[in-house]
Symmetry: C3
Subunit: 121 residues, 3 copies
């Protein structure tokens, strides 16, 4: 899990949008976006443990293709998109909410995240 909060903060600052939404989207069918605490590493480890328990590797029909069925299932369940409010030209996160990119089939050299910032009217 990669904390991308500071990148999203920067993009919102650059946009100068005061109130609106930031749509954060992970391009990749074995990746996802999750909002989670980042006080320390513990809850990130717990997310990995939980998903590995719920969705074990090596038992899926898709594994016959490229052996990453579990990564697709985790990505589908967590989901590639989160929509975060913008308030005061900042992401409207609570104190303990951070934005994480979840890599379920990596590491990869390159991943793309699309952030779309839209002002309210």
């Amino acid at each position: 899990m990669y904390d991308i909060t500071s990148d999203i903060v920067s993009l919102i600052k650059m946009s100068k949008v005061h109130t609106g939404i930031a749509s954060v989207y992970a391009r990749g069918s074995t990746a996802a976006i999750m909002i989670q605490e980042n006080w320390d590493q513990s809850i990130q480890n717990d997310v990995v443990s939980l998903l590995n328990k719920m969705i074990p590797s090596g038992i899926w029909e898709h594994d016959r293709q490229d052996n990453n069925g579990d990564a697709h299932l985790k990505a589908g369940l967590v989901g590639p998109s989160e929509t975060i409010p913008i308030t005061g030209n900042n992401p409207g996160l609570s104190t303990w909410q951070n934005i994480f990119f979840c890599e379920f089939d990596g590491p990869r050299e390159r991943r793309e995240i699309v952030v779309t910032i839209i002002a309210d009217n």
Copy 2:
């Protein structure tokens, strides 16, 4: 689970937006937003049972900090954001869809939900 549908309806009415989206966002890393039926209490009870079975309490690394690892995991999996269409100055929900705030580590005295309403063009 707290049904907040009528609050969202009121905010959309006030906005006078005819068509667009309402982004509903739970500020809090142990809370989430879920769309679910509200014919009676049964499915809400089932949601709680399911999440408690999938994500039991007391077995997480994060519990050493503040003993609420399960609440964070439930929140991360369900997710804090839902984006609901607006049609005819109303939320575009089906008959049996209601909007619920999910409290996984409460009760709390105060929780914040940010609703951002954006008209389409």
Copy 3:
């Protein structure tokens, strides 16, 4: 699981929106939207297997009403909304991301999906 990607592409083309977001919303408390690969049928079968294992049918309080508690729970967990970026008048999906309508209590004669397209500013 029904692949609706080409319908979303058509709607985005018709809108002539170059960059922005497309909010895809399943109207129905026993249906959902999932982004997933569609190279072949395998991962779709795996999604069905996973959800049936995680959320078996016939053991829920809601089943006493209309015997579809599992369908509601699957819908709530996967979620009815996905927000997809629009780039270059196309959905900003990666090569292996397709948009699926998930029917958990069907088949039905008719289901409604609301797609709201919003340009960025």
